[in-house]
């Protein structure tokens, strides 16, 4: 990098490759200006929507003809990073739509909120495309720092501030692991480039310790055992739209990177990774089983899903030789999860518009009669999370377990499938509450918020629901996009 000449690094191809991220960065700047000039909601909304739209269009065009490795080989703009990028943009857009009418008391700072939200996908894109350990770190921080602030955004609520601080302290702790790991790898091998590391046959003990620390930090971000303990507290305390963003975008970005660095692990690590995956699924599902708060239940469920998709990594290490098998399965799974979980968290956010009482399962009782569409959408998301056929969640699970079977990890697949049986128990409890239990008397007089204020959230819900169904009913189209 140092000896390379700047003109070669920053050629047109390079700028083109990262144009979606550049669009986002410019949008962030414009949004800051707009915030100074006017307080009009529509202006702010137009900038955010326009930026996300422009970035998505650029991403689609780049995806049509991926430039490959750029920035002197530190960033990979390939097919996979393009698809991940689109997924991040979708996740951000959904979270933003749900956030529009979510905050009551903190409205003065909405510009800052949107600025931070718009910054996160830049970080995610850098993480997903990183071919260099340092670039990944830049992306990681670009994602994490705004999220720390966003978690604490409801600054006069103890839980929110607590969540932000917890996430920040533990995130900093995790980042330290990452940096130390990268430093160890550098001192052992003399490089931070994944392309160069790929050529190393085996690693020394020093490098291997570095890899382990690095993995610990990535595992922290995708929240698998034993790095998942913060998840329920933070997810529960954070403002719900932010939770939606964390649960989907962060996880997907860390996962995209994990797939890029899987080769650092020896094949013998397959069993460790599989064990971590299984334990994570078990703890996530069992934890979710006893939750009374739906937001917290979804947090545990998110942990369980992270465990499931980690199986793909175990399978890739353990001998699933299907070309792109792991990537296909992971992308599909995460796509289904992003839309399902974003929709589910988003619906909770939408319900909270009427007060903070709605995330407890008792408060969802009989909702189907008062708000039939909301109940129907929430049911769809629950079924998808539970992996019922003809929803995206089913096929994602199927591909993941199928990948494990191809790698001869039958026992692991069996336990995984059994654990997902347990999972259905708590997803169904929500459906039962929605449709099959009488409304609690305390909610009898609660009015549905005005339709106008629900519009953005309804739009996001409709889009998520449609995509969850499409992923389940017409998976072929998506799989062709992923596979091409």
């Amino acid at each position: 990098m140092i000896q390379s000449d700047l003109a070669r690094v920053y050629d047109a191809d390079t700028l083109w490759a990262v144009s979606p991220a550049i669009a986002l960065a410019l949008g962030v700047l414009v949004l800051l200006m707009v915030g100074v000039v006017t307080h009009a909601r529509w202006a702010r909304g137009a900038v955010v929507a326009g930026t996300l739209g422009l970035s998505a269009v650029l991403q689609v065009v780049v995806l049509g003809d991926p430039p490959g490795a750029v920035f002197d080989g530190t960033f990979m703009a390939d097919h996979a990073s393009g698809l991940w990028g689109l997924l991040f943009l979708c996740g951000t857009a959904v979270a933003w739509l749900y956030s529009l009418n979510y905050y009551g008391e903190d409205r003065p700072y909405k510009v800052e909120h949107d600025v931070m939200m718009l910054t996160t996908p830049i970080g995610m894109m850098l993480m997903a495309g990183a071919q260099d350990l340092l670039l990944f770190f830049v992306g990681l921080e670009l994602l994490s720092v705004p999220l720390y602030a966003l978690c604490a955004f409801r600054r006069n609520r103890t839980r929110s501030v607590e969540a932000g601080l917890k996430y920040f302290l533990l995130g900093a702790f995790g980042a330290a692991f990452y940096l130390y790991g990268a430093a160890l790898i550098f001192s052992a091998t003399g490089t931070l480039s994944l392309a160069v590391l790929k050529d190393f046959g085996s690693f020394s003990t020093l490098a291997m310790s570095g890899v382990a620390l690095l993995m610990a930090s990535v595992f922290f971000k995708i929240s698998v055992f034993p790095f998942h303990l913060w998840v329920p507290d933070v997810y529960e305390g954070a403002p719900t739209p932010v939770t939606a963003l964390m649960a989907t975008g962060t996880k997907a970005a860390a996962f995209a990177f994990l797939l890029r660095v899987t080769f650092l692990l020896p094949e013998s690590a397959a069993m460790t990774v599989a064990t971590i995956a299984i334990v994570t699924m078990a703890l996530g599902n069992l934890g979710a089983l006893v939750q009374q708060d739906v937001k917290r239940m979804l947090a545990y469920s998110g942990v369980a899903h992270a465990g499931t998709v980690l199986l793909v990594v175990a399978a890739a290490l353990g001998g699933d030789r299907q070309p792109h098998g792991a990537l296909d399965a992971a992308l599909y799974y995460m796509a289904a999860y992003v839309f399902t979980a974003a929709g589910a968290f988003g619906l909770l956010a939408m319900l909270e518009q009427g007060g903070d009482r709605f995330t407890h399962i008792d408060n969802l009782r009989g909702l189907a009669r008062r708000r039939p569409y909301t109940a129907a959408a929430l049911t769809l998301f629950m079924l998808s999370l539970g992996g019922i056929p003809l929803t995206g969640g089913f096929l994602g699970k199927y591909l993941v377990f199928y990948s494990a079977v191809r790698a001869d990890m039958i026992g692991v697949a069996v336990i995984g499938v059994l654990l997902s049986v347990v999972a259905l128990g708590y997803y169904l409890r929500v459906v039962v509450a929605l449709y099959m239990q009488p409304e609690p008397a305390s909610l009898a007089g609660v009015a549905v918020p005005a339709r106008r204020t629900l519009l953005p959230a309804s739009f996001a819900t409709g889009a998520c629901a449609a995509l969850v169904l499409l992923l389940g009913v017409l998976p072929r189209w998506f799989l062709t996009q992923i596979g091409s």
Partner: protein, 665 residues
């Protein structure tokens, strides 16, 4: 092979019907919000619900006639394909395929389904969820048709999960009662245990055969059998896993306890889903993949044993039930056991024959019971009935016809289908003699409990409170379907007369000939594995038929006589053998043992896990960050508990642990 795109309409018509009913339900709710007594669109929804299944039946008949017109070996109709998934080596094309087996199943599902839908228009009259009911019922028919007509195991699985979901929704239909919702959940979770086995089995199938196409799998099985038998174990494990799925869906031991609880749903649901169609899905699956199951003698023996034992447990439990629907539920469990005994004996055709006759007579009995319950103002307790034959003559006559078929009285449909299964079990010889004996024992109990139920319902003193209960006959919309099903239950035997009788009457075994091309591959595999199947001689066949008839007649008579004059026999049993009575009425205490060995430990585990995660980890470690907490604000008790430190500790420990593991491996 012929291609017909209209075949898609057989499952999709009910789906459309379901959507329309759903919209009508929504409109009804809106109308009622304006004025609570508005009629809404209930009548229209009923019509749509019945018609969509009726039209589907017409198409199914058309397909059947087309099939029959084709030469025997070409009897397959295929719809246009739908390319569903394509990734790597996983390519899944969904197609509707009708061969003699699927065609039989579609006829049963749409035919019996149509009658039950028609019956429901009367039974559910006045229910405030009328349109919703038909939406769910139609959705169920759609899923069931996908299940029986899909060319691909994954397509079958869509239907498989779909019927489970509808069953769950319909069991919990009357959720105001409180317990149905819970029963629905139990059914769904138990089914999911089976489904987990099913899914894993399907993964193994792909590994073994590289395809999930059902007919391809059938043709590929013989190729794996040759040589040193290196695939034998894999084949057996795959078959057993799939059978595990069947145990869940078809309520076999050890997963049968959900079915009696499922009776909490409206009675037409019990008739359609929990007697005639959904619970037979497991039987269909084994029959469909018959070469795979035939490939392993052990697997067949397991299936036959599970079936025989379930038949006995179900029948003995039905002996002492007081709830009329519970009697029928355990009876269904038991009859499904017979079907699996047949499959396990290699009599795939006979099992499907019994499936068909069972759909007739058990559908009839459930609908009859529904008519009784309807007429008795929601009373289900046999001890509070009696003497109803005067009040409900039409229900009485048809119910007796169904009872005759269920108990296997000579020449009724159930007589032929059950005896065909038992004859096959007998001719399999060896260990199967024992299973045959168990089956005969079950048949004795069946005849006994069936006629106990008839006697307690329709004969003897009237034990209900005459001031509050005024039994009345049900309307024609309910008795009409009863009459049709009664005819089928009595005459259904003509579809498959026992060979010796058929010989006398110059009637072929219609069902056997019709299904022959489907079960033939399995029989070939059986012949490869076991040598030629023992033929039953004419004299032996006469003897077996005679034994079946004698057992049915004797025990039907005894059951009837014991309860003709009232509930004395039940009281004497409870008095003299309280332990036995309790043991039987709780279905051999299987459910209770699940409660203590599975449910409670799992719940405890979950609570402990969450306690560990939420509290122990949090509280157990020194609380030191109080200064931070004070800086933040007042109510931050959770911080003071020191959970942050412990989380960090876990992260650190985890990092160290994986470092050690990876460095040393």
């Amino acid at each position: 092979m012929e291609h017909h795109s209209w075949l898609w309409w057989i499952p999709f018509l009910p789906l459309v019907g379901s959507a329309v009913c759903g919209v009508l339900h929504y409109l009804t709710i809106r109308a009622r919000r304006a004025s609570p007594d508005a009629p809404g669109y209930a009548g229209l929804a009923g019509m749509v619900g019945v018609l969509s299944v009726g039209l589907s039946l017409v198409l199914a008949i058309r397909a059947f006639l087309l099939l029959r017109g084709l030469p025997v070996e070409e009897r397959v109709l295929e719809s246009t394909p739908w390319d569903w998934i394509g990734v790597g080596d996983l390519r899944i094309v969904l197609t509707i395929v009708l061969d003699p087996l699927s065609s039989t199943m579609t006829l049963v599902v749409t035919g019996v389904g149509f009658l039950i839908h028609a019956y429901s228009t009367g039974y559910m009259k006045g229910d405030k969820g009328y349109a919703k009911f038909f939406a769910f019922m139609n959705l169920f028919v759609f899923a069931m048709l996908m299940l029986v007509a899909s060319s691909n195991l994954l397509g079958l699985f869509i239907g498989w999960e779909g019927v489970g979901l509808c069953s769950y929704l319909l069991i919990g239909f009357w959720y105001e009662k409180g317990w149905p919702a819970e029963a629905g959940q139990k059914a769904f979770v138990m089914n999911r245990i089976g489904d987990a086995c099913f899914l894993v089995g399907s993964f193994l199938l792909v590994r073994l055969f590289g395809t999930l196409d059902l007919s391809e799998i059938g043709t590929l099985v013989p190729g794996l059998l040759g040589g040193s038998g290196e695939h034998d174990l894999e084949l057996a494990v795959t078959a057993l896993l799939l059978f595990g799925g069947c145990c869940g869906k078809s309520a076999q031991i050890p997963l049968f306890t959900w079915l009696p609880d499922a009776m909490a749903g409206p009675t037409p649901v019990s008739a359609l889903i929990h007697a005639a169609t959904m619970v037979t899905a497991g039987v269909y699956l084994v029959a469909r993949l018959n070469p795979l199951f035939a490939a392993s003698p052990t697997v067949l023996a397991v299936i036959a044993t599970v079936g025989a034992v379930t038949a006995l447990v179900g029948a003995s439990t039905a002996l002492v039930q007081r709830d009329i629907k519970k009697v029928l539920a355990y009876s269904t469990v038991s009859q499904l056991g017979y079907m699996f005994l047949g499959l396990g004996s290699g009599a795939f055709g006979a099992a499907i024959f019994h499936l068909v006759t069972h759909a007739f007579f058990k559908g009839l009995l459930f609908l009859g019971a529904g008519s009784v319950i309807h007429g008795m103002h929601e009373e289900q307790d046999l001890h509070k009935m009696g003497g109803l034959r005067k009040h409900m003559p039409r229900t009485y006559v048809t119910f007796v016809a169904g009872a005759a078929a269920l108990s296997g009285l000579p020449l009724m449909s159930g007589y032929f289908s059950k005896d065909e299964i038992l004859a096959h079990a007998f001719s399999a010889g060896g260990y199967y003699y024992l299973l045959w004996a168990v089956g005969i024992g079950g048949a004795m109990l069946t005849a006994y409990y069936t006629w106990r139920m008839v006697a307690l319902t329709f004969f003897g003193p009237e034990r209900f409170d005459h001031h509050h209960v005024h039994p009345h006959e049900s309307p024609f919309s309910m008795t009409g379907p009863l009459a049709v099903l009664a005819l089928l239950s009595v005459g259904g035997g003509l579809l498959g007369l026992a060979p010796v009788l058929g010989h006398l009457a110059h009637l072929p075994h219609l069902m056997g000939d019709w299904l022959a091309p489907v079960v033939e591959p399995g029989e070939r595999v059986l012949a490869m594995r076991h040598g030629p199947h023992g033929e039953v001689s004419h004299s032996l066949e006469w003897i077996l038929l005679g034994v079946g008839a004698a057992v049915a007649l004797v025990f039907a008579y005894r059951g009837f006589v014991a309860y003709r004059d009232g509930i004395g026999a039940d009281e004497r049993l409870a008095e003299r053998r309280p332990v036995l009575a309790g043991f039987l009425s709780e279905a051999w205490r299987v459910d209770a043992s699940y409660q203590s060995f599975v449910v409670l430990p799992l719940g405890a585990l979950a609570r402990v896990t969450s306690a560990v995660v939420d509290q122990l980890v949090v509280d157990g470690i020194v609380n030191g960050s109080a200064t931070v907490a004070r800086a933040i604000g007042q109510r931050t008790r959770r911080f003071a508990d020191g959970d942050l430190r412990s989380y960090a500790l876990w992260i650190g420990a985890g990092a160290v642990a994986i470092s050690f593991m990876w460095i040393w491996s």
